[in-house]
Symmetry: C2
Subunit: 136 residues, 2 copies
């Protein structure tokens, strides 16, 4: 087996929250592996939230944008809320230019604030920026 097929993105459990740090270029197989692992881990750990840190990504394309949306939707149907955090300014620009404004996904400036948001005691700056839960 090549290294390629072994590649996977770890899903870390921190309390009742799962933390995923995306830092490599995504490709189809890796995205599928992450989908499987994340959904299995949500069920296994009964996590109620997922923090996806994308601070390691300097560029995004429509594939990654769709993957983030899909992961968040999958987590949602498993009753876990997703917060995408650590987005670099250039990534925010690209996402919106691609028409992917990540509707329904909450965001936070960094992993720490993302975790606080999911634990129900958001840090002040996040609240002040209007990241209120979207109405269903």
């Amino acid at each position: 087996m090549s290294r390629e097929t072994n590649e996977r993105i770890p899903v870390l459990k921190l309390g009742d929250i799962l933390l995923v740090t995306i830092q490599v270029d995504m490709h189809d197989q890796l995205a599928l592996t992450l989908q499987n692992e994340l959904t299995e881990k949500i069920v296994e750990t009964q996590a109620h939230g997922v923090v996806m840190d994308i601070s390691g990504l300097e560029i995004v394309d429509s594939f990654i944008g769709r993957m983030l949306s899909n992961l968040a939707s999958m987590a949602r149907v498993l009753d876990a809320e997703t917060v995408v955090c650590g987005m670099q300014p250039a990534v925010a620009i690209t996402l919106v230019e691609l028409g992917l404004s990540l509707p329904g996904i909450r965001t936070a400036l960094n992993a720490e604030q993302g975790i606080a948001l999911l634990q129900g005691h958001p840090a002040a700056p996040v609240e002040a920026r209007g990241h209120a839960p979207a109405a269903p």
Copy 2:
């Protein structure tokens, strides 16, 4: 600039602990970038602990082994303790076979236990396995 030169491993701040998830094949430039970023972030955030999660690594070589040792030593001289966690069984075997038993580095089974260890209230299983602080 190619993607290669942009590549970096994010260092996440969680309270007064820094979390590094190593999941890609290491090479010289990436290791140097990580060294710089980690040491700068320790100073900037006054972190007292570093959790290095290597659950995404299925194989290690002497380069990665040395890099882990070096990162832990650098953190130590900056007054931050390092816990390596999430090591897969095959990696533990390889490390010891390579003569790298990571002396002076504390280990934990997963990131959650690693963080608990650094916060001074280690989860019971970790204590029971004899991960007492090494005498100086």
